[in-house]
């Protein structure tokens, strides 16, 4: 596993209520490994929900 991934995860683990954030970081890293930055952008777009009238 990447040193960067480990270092980030370790830092996140120190935060309170870190489960969701760590899970999100794992998804981000997985997408980055699989598809690079495009994959990360897709992941962010998938999570981003905006009202119809704001699109």
């Amino acid at each position: 596993m990447s040193e960067l991934f480990d270092a980030v995860e370790k830092r996140l683990m120190k935060e309170k209520d870190h489960e969701e954030t760590v899970a999100l970081w794992r998804r981000v890293w997985e997408r980055y490994e699989d598809s690079g930055l495009d994959g990360v952008q897709e992941l962010m777009d998938a999570h981003l929900i905006v009202p119809e009238d704001a699109k």
Partner: protein
């Protein structure tokens, strides 16, 4: 760890990969090696093939503007067929890593074990003890990563240091991971919900005002509170329909098909239906039909009256003209007899004139004879006569006849003839008058018959026609007046019903419809509240994502700073040593790279200084030449590589002498030779000076030499082996 405890590169085999169209095998045998040849003969291809075969990709930013497949495509060869195999040895242990683009397979074979795909990737990482990022940072120094340090833009140089330190992924993620879109989305969800709420409240207020207005109008129209519901309105509709039915019956019109509306929505069309029914009743009502008939009859009688007066007048005028024309002949009985008398007079006068003419002829002849004979006897009676006296008498008589009787007779005849012509004209006019009079009489008789038929009489004498017409006209007028009263009464009834229907629609129905609208609006309000809950949930979710991404970003920032600092710190002693050996700067004998953490990135300070005098620090870019920066970068790379812990005993250095002067190349060659004695070094270069230095310092005694002589779709490689 002893050398035998680490993996060394035995062989690279590639096919259809960038500069290699067919197949190329480089058998390193785990030894240090030199790849040398001119530009473009495929040296760098070997380094790229090693990375691609092992990891199937390149670090982000290496291929910013081209597709991966296009990058791999051989210069001359078949696209999509790239294939690579790398063999590593550790003591007696052999690991083969192979990748085939055509079949999409990645395989790792260790001993008899063959692993594929993700299992193979895991095995590769755990066996070699590094991932791609560590491989690039500590095993393979590609010239492109050094080149970035020479760029003018601070951002580009920082990125190059990121790449050198293997932390570019952290910066890439820092650039892309943003909390703002999520926080903005949270705000938008709340603003959207709030504006929807305000819109609903405004609509609510408007509807209530409209309802109050409708109730007020209903009360002004005479409806009571108990009427303000659908049941009461239905009852009103029922009564209204009964009134319409009753009206239709009363006026002998067809019965209406109106039914009580089943819903307020249907009721909205009811008053229009009633209006149509009332129009139908009004047009088909018996009084209306009869009024129209009676009006038509009155018009007809009035027409007859006018026609009668005109025709009678014409006939009377014609009669008077006949009488006037007959008047001159009244004393002579039949007018035609007068013409006969005139003809007789003319005949008689004509005879008289004829006789006078004959007498004139006779006397003329007698005078001629007398003149001829000159006799003293009368040529007629043969008596003795005085010829001259006779001649005078004859002459006198002839003259008398010519200028008197004959002239008078002719005048009288002409007068008689003129009189006859006038008489004939008068008679013709009389005849014409009589014809006209007869025609007028016939018209009058015909009209009289028509009037009799119209009035329903068998026959009406001429003297009574007018009176009878007047009587009938009066009768019709009376009937029309009576019928008009009925029709007016019907119109009043209809208007009252229509008004009632309109009142029901305009007041009661409006109240009920508004009430329904308010009810629907309240339901919409409940739905809206649910939507608001959903919006708030979305807003909270977006906020949470914003917070998580922000935490990740902060963690990334810290991790990048920490990794970069740690790696720099570990590499520092060896980097400093190599800086001194390779750069040999007369003044700035030391350098330092430190991290500077900012809000959204980690920058670097790359400075040189006089050893032991930190206050002399100057920015490296301002002091070092391109060659010196390159040499510094190689030193940093070696420092990083040697301070990293992993399972490979290999350094693959691509073109380390770019921009270097000869002394620096010499120092670089010494370094390579020195390192080649301790680990497997593979150096690629086109630099003949550098190759000479390497040979001079004995690199070829410790390493295999691959000379890539030329390239024609495939590199042509010759190998020379040292005796070792």
């Amino acid at each position: 760890m002893k050398p035998d405890d680490k993996w060394r590169l035995e062989r690279i085999s590639i096919r259809s990969f960038r500069g290699v169209a067919g197949e190329q095998i480089l058998d390193f045998g785990g030894r240090s090696s030199l790849l040398y040849g001119n530009n473009g003969v495929g040296k760098s291809t070997m380094a790229l093939a090693l990375q691609w075969t092992l990891f199937g990709k390149f670090p982000s930013g290496v291929l910013p503007n081209i597709g991966f497949k296009n990058f791999l495509t051989p210069v001359s060869g078949i696209k999509g067929m790239s294939c690579g195999e790398v063999l590593f040895r550790r003591g007696a242990q052999v690991m083969t890593v192979s990748r085939d683009e055509e079949t999409g397979t990645f395989r790792v074979k260790i001993g008899s074990r063959i692993l594929e795909a993700e299992e193979a990737e895991n095995e590769r990482d755990s066996t070699l003890g590094l991932d791609m990022e560590a491989f690039v940072r500590t095993v393979l120094l590609h010239q492109s990563r050094v080149r970035g340090l020479l760029l003018d833009e601070v951002k580009d140089r920082n990125h190059a240091i990121d790449m050198l330190l293997g932390v570019e992924a952290a910066q890439d993620l820092l650039d892309i991971l943003k909390d703002k879109p999520f926080r903005d989305a949270a705000t938008e969800w709340r603003v959207s919900a709030e504006s929807e709420k305000e819109r609903h409240a405004a609509q609510d207020e408007l509807l209530k005002r409209q309802y109050d207005g409708a109730v007020l109008q209903a009360r002004e129209s005479g409806f009571l509170s108990k009427d303000l519901n659908w049941t009461a309105l239905s009852a009103h509709y029922g009564k209204l329909i009964a009134i319409v039915h009753s009206l239709a019956t009363k006026h002998e019109a067809p019965l209406s098909k109106l039914v009580v509306p089943s819903s307020p929505a249907e009721a909205q069309k009811f008053s229009a239906k009633v209006a149509r029914e009332l129009i139908q009743i009004q047009s088909k009502a018996k009084s209306q039909v009869r009024l129209e008939q009676e009006k038509a009859r009155a018009d007809k009688i009035q027409g007859f009256l006018g026609a009668w007066d005109q025709t009678l007048n014409s006939r009377d005028k014609a009669s008077k003209l006949v009488l006037a024309a007959e008047a001159p002949f009244a004393s002579s009985g039949k007018p035609e007899g007068v013409l006969e008398l005139a003809d007789a007079e003319i005949e008689k006068q004509d005879e008289l004139l004829k006789n006078l003419g004959q007498l004139h002829t006779l006397l003329t002849d007698a005078r001629s004879a007398l003149f001829a004979q000159r006799e003293s006897t009368c040529p007629v009676c043969t008596q003795s006569v005085d010829a001259s006296r006779l001649d005078k008498d004859l002459e006198s008589r002839i003259r008398s006849l010519s200028s008197g009787e004959l002239v008078e007779g002719r005048r009288v005849l002409d007068a008689l003839k003129r009189s006859r012509v006038e008489l004939r004209t008068s008679l013709e006019q009389l005849a014409e008058q009589r014809i006209n009079c007869g025609l007028a009489q016939k018209q009058l008789a015909k009209l009289s018959e028509q009037i009799a038929v119209c009035l329903g009489a068998h026959a009406i004498s001429e003297s009574k026609v007018r009176q009878r017409l007047l009587e009938s006209a009066k009768g019709s007028a009376d009937a029309c007046e009576a019928l008009e009263k009925d029709v007016d009464s019907l119109a009043n009834d209809i208007e009252a019903i229509a008004t009632k229907a309109t009142d029901l629609e305009g007041s009661l129905l409006t109240v009920i419809l508004k009430r329904e609208e308010i009810s629907r609006h309240e339901k919409e309000g409940q739905k809206l509240m649910q939507n608001h809950a959903g919006s708030e949930k979305n807003a909270a979710s977006m906020e949470a994502f914003g917070t998580r991404f922000e935490r990740i970003r902060i963690a990334l920032l810290g991790a990048k700073d920490q990794l970069a600092s740690d790696r720099l710190k570990r590499a520092r002693p060896r980097s400093l040593e190599l800086y001194e050996r390779l750069v040999r700067h007369p003044k700035f004998s030391s350098f330092d790279i430190t991290t500077i953490q900012r809000a959204r990135k980690v920058d670097y300070s790359f400075e040189v200084s006089v050893k032991g005098n930190p206050s002399s620090a100057r920015e490296a870019k301002l002091v070092l030449s391109d060659g010196q920066v390159t040499a510094t970068a190689v030193g940093i790379f070696v420092g990083l590589a040697e301070s990293a812990a992993h399972g490979m005993d290999l350094l693959f250095i691509d073109d380390p002498t770019q921009n270097l002067d000869l002394p620096c190349k010499e120092a670089m060659a010494k370094l390579m030779v020195e390192m080649a004695g301790r680990k497997q070094i593979i150096v690629s270069t086109h630099d003949e000076d550098f190759v000479s230095y390497l040979r001079e310092y004995g690199f070829d005694k410790k390493a295999a030499i691959f000379h890539i002589e030329s390239w024609n779709g495939n590199p042509k490689v010759s190998r020379s082996e040292s005796p070792d």
